[in-house]
Amino acid sequence: MYQKNALRRVRTFLAEKARWIRTIRRRVLGRKCADRPGDLHTRVTFRAAVDAVLPNTPELEAEIGADHVPGGNDVGLAEFVAIYVDHRFQLGLPRTRRNVELVKPVANVLDAAALKLIARGNNRDEPSDEWPVKLFDGTDVSPARIADVAGPFARLSPKDRLRAINVLDEIEAQVTLRNGRFVEFDGGLVGQLVVGFAELIYYSEWQGYPDVTRMPFGQDHANDPTTVQGWRQTGFPGFSNGYPCLRGYLGTETGPLGSGDVWTTIDDRGDAPVSLLEAPGRFRENEYDTDDYEEPYPEGGD
């Protein structure tokens, strides 16, 4: 049993690796899209990441409502994450943009992580073309073309893609610049970009800008909560100048913190109940004595 599994694992790994090498050749030969960073392989990989992190979730409809169904790929999040990475993560001289292209290395690191996962046999589902092809349903990119360029990351099931993101920390990557300088980065940065930053962008005001393929700088924003999917899904009402939500100041009627009427009592165990009072007070400038200090977890440090 064990042997059979191990064999199957090695076979899957070799097949995925061979496919990957073939896609690299095709990508080198293939043309770069003029209007967005990276190439089709990058786009497939980023869509696959977004599909795992912020998926379309029909299963949430019955539970919390239809508003919670659409995901990141329904609003162009993957494409923007690529633009974002390209825009914000660059190095070098003023006024020479794009002297380091990070988008492709990011996609390649995701593929490397997928291969690592597969090599260890830690993927739960067999890799398949169906996943990346599905990501382009309803677009004009042909399924054959997708299947052609999709790397091992995009061919994993969504949960396995997350498992692959999880082994990213173990990968060290390097981008070499034209002048021979290099930048090393921890694979964890890639996880941060496709998970952390994707979440930040999705739940932020981003979708409310007139042009979602540009950075927000210089763009107007209507601050209309109904037009931002991430806001609809969290109930965030948009940005506001303020709220009349003051409940008072924590304190005791006998102490220096807080004064005036009690609005509600927080703790009535002691002689002086702790309450929310009408007006603020000041902290006590107390005498202090540290003689009784004990280290809960001793450690000198250096």
Binding site: P94, R181, V183, E199, E205, G218, H221, W231, T234, N241
Partner: protein
């Protein structure tokens, strides 16, 4: 105009640099502050992110609240990208640092530095962290007069209570913790944050009938609509110095400029510290070289004294890139308050019973206004955020993988780990019924943790900072205990689901990479270089016990400025 030389050059207009500059200028010295990022809210730079603007500003009349209103949109995605550490030019990205794992360093560039992001929390250090922990060569009592000076200038006041703080305080009390009303904390307990934020107008009470637009002069003080992490222009319409959040650009920068002795040169990255060495002697600092971030041209400026205040990553990087004498502790001993996030989720009817409404609404109030102290362990604080920042900080990363990979059967929390997919969307659909508690632990300085540089891995300012950080076993245990306390408080407050992130090391607070007693003497002058001082959080000898560090960093910078005056002028 920037002159050829000054009495003192301060590198960095962040949290602490302007404090030193203010004190030095009050003593009558001429001071140049050189800042890598832009100057927001200054008429010399009406479009700070699209054109280079003027060279420098030295007139307090240049400051404009109106421009701050325009430039600080409070839109979280835009503002995070505008403020995070990088050049002013919108067309260019962040300045890179290498950080281990999927953690990150959060620092800002611009006049105000990382206090542009900070939430204004200004507690003092725990006295025991200074007097008992064996790291500091001076005593807590030495800092007291400077704390008072800083607290007065930036209006430190007990923070107001809104729904999220009330819920947290109820939980802390029900869990049996004591209430604290003191400045100098020596025992565990809960209290309001001492915030460098002016209190809200009392007409903003829930029982009031305020229906204005929350602008100045109709209201003064904080307007209770978050915004602190994103620069905070509130109240809109207020003059520059009447903005509620007293970040260093609003508090110390105008005070420094008002002396008439201070010039601020933004968009200028210091790349070298010049020195002179007489035969057989230690080097003496004589000035700095900076590079204009728009044009790339470099300029040298002379000084009697140089003060490094570029923050706990860039100060040691600059030291190393300037080839100043090697010292085994330069860049070492980094503490970051090894942190975590614990989230509580409530059911609507439960909230109705405790708060009188079915939601908590974390987007209302100040970002951080309630705290729990525990000398020896660190602290907890409630955090209200807008949803994007909340998602990335609270759910975007974990040291233990995605939540579906973790078994929490025997753990105090219901789920743990990074969230993605259906779980993420489900949890965030509770955004308005959720509180995030930030766990901030008292991690201790270790030599292995810190900043180094390596030839080849460079940006336009030379080798980039390569940061290493791994908590010790005891650091982990302190953090675990705090996460358990947070969980209990949330449960006592009625949370129906508790989620722990188990965050990877992520640095919002950074200190102790140029420690007093190791790299610096008791006046914060470098042992190895005369007339070179450090006045930022890197000079702190440890992580001050866990409380938010800015009050202590600023108090120490004020003290250092006095030492400079008596030593050299």
């Amino acid at each position: 105009m920037v002159a050829d030389s000054y009495d003192v050059v301060v590198v960095g207009a962040g949290g602490d640099g302007p404090v030193a500059a203010w004190k030095l200028a009050e003593a009558g010295l001429s001071v140049l502050i050189i800042e890598a990022g832009p100057f927001h809210g200054n008429e010399k730079w009406p479009n700070p992110h699209t054109e280079p603007g003027a060279e420098a500003s030295s007139d307090v009349e240049d400051l404009s609240g109106e421009l701050l209103d325009e430039q600080f949109s409070t839109r979280e995605f835009e503002m995070v990208n505008r403020l995070l550490f990088g050049p002013a030019d919108d067309e260019r990205g962040f300045w890179m640092r290498k950080f281990p794992g999927d953690g990150a360093i959060l620092q800002c560039a611009g006049v105000g530095g990382t206090t542009l992001h900070y939430t204004g929390c200004h507690p003092r250090a725990y006295p025991a962290a200074i007097d008992e922990q064996d790291h500091w060569p001076i005593e807590y009592a030495d800092l007291l007069p400077y704390y008072r000076e800083v607290e007065e200038l930036c209006d430190v006041q007990p923070a107001p209570v809104t729904a999220k703080e009330e819920l947290f305080f109820r939980g802390a009390a029900a869990a049996g913790w004591e209430f604290i009303d003191e400045m100098n904390v020596t025992r565990p307990g809960y209290r309001p944050q001492p915030n460098a934020i002016r209190q809200p107008d009392d007409r903003l009470h829930v029982d009031g009938d305020y229906d204005g637009d929350f602008t100045y002069p109709d209201v003064t003080g904080h307007t209770l609509g978050l915004g602190d992490i994103t620069g905070s222009p509130h109240p809109r319409g207020a003059p520059f110095e009447e903005k509620a959040k007293r970040a260093s650009n609003v508090s110390f920068v105008p005070a420094a400029m008002r002396t008439g002795n201070v010039t601020i040169r933004p968009n200028a990255f210091v790349v070298d510290v010049t020195t002179e060495t007489h035969l057989g002697d230690r080097p003496t600092a004589t000035g700095v070289t900076f590079r204009d971030t728009w044009s790339g041209t470099t300029t040298e400026v002379g000084a009697e004294v140089v003060v490094l205040a570029a923050g706990a990553i860039e100060t040691p990087r600059l030291w190393m890139n300037a080839d100043l004498p090697k010292n085994e502790w330069v860049g070492r001993g980094l503490t970051i308050h090894f942190g975590d996030n614990v989230m509580g989720l409530w059911k609507a009817d439960e909230l109705e019973a405790t708060l009188g409404k079915p939601t908590i609404d974390q987007h209302e109030g100040e970002n951080i206004a309630a705290r729990f102290d525990y000398p020896g362990l660190g602290m907890l604080q409630t955090v209200g955020t807008t949803p994007g920042i909340g998602a990335i900080l609270g759910f975007g990363a974990s040291a233990s993988g995605f939540s579906f990979q973790n078994d929490t059967e025997d753990a105090p929390w219901d789920t743990m780990g990074r969230l993605a997919g259906t779980e993420l969307k489900r949890i965030l659909s509770n955004y308005r019924r959720m509180i995030q508690v930030l766990v901030v632990s008292d991690d201790r300085p270790m030599k292995r943790n810190g900043v180094s540089v390596q030839k080849g891995a460079e940006d336009e300012h030379g080798p980039i900072p390569l940061v290493n950080y791994a908590p010790s076993e005891a650091d982990r245990r302190r953090r675990d205990e705090l996460a358990e306390i947070a969980t209990e408080i949330l449960r006592e407050a009625g949370a129906s689901h508790v989620h722990r992130s188990d965050s990877p090391p992520t640095a919002l607070h950074l200190h102790s990479t140029m420690r007093m007693g190791k790299v610096l003497d008791q006046a914060c002058e470098a042992y190895a270089v005369d007339r070179l001082f450090v006045a930022d959080h890197s000079a702190l000898a440890n992580g001050v016990g866990g409380p938010n560090p800015t009050n202590t960093g600023q108090a120490l910078a004020a003290r250092t400025a006095e030492k400079i005056v008596t030593r050299y002028f």
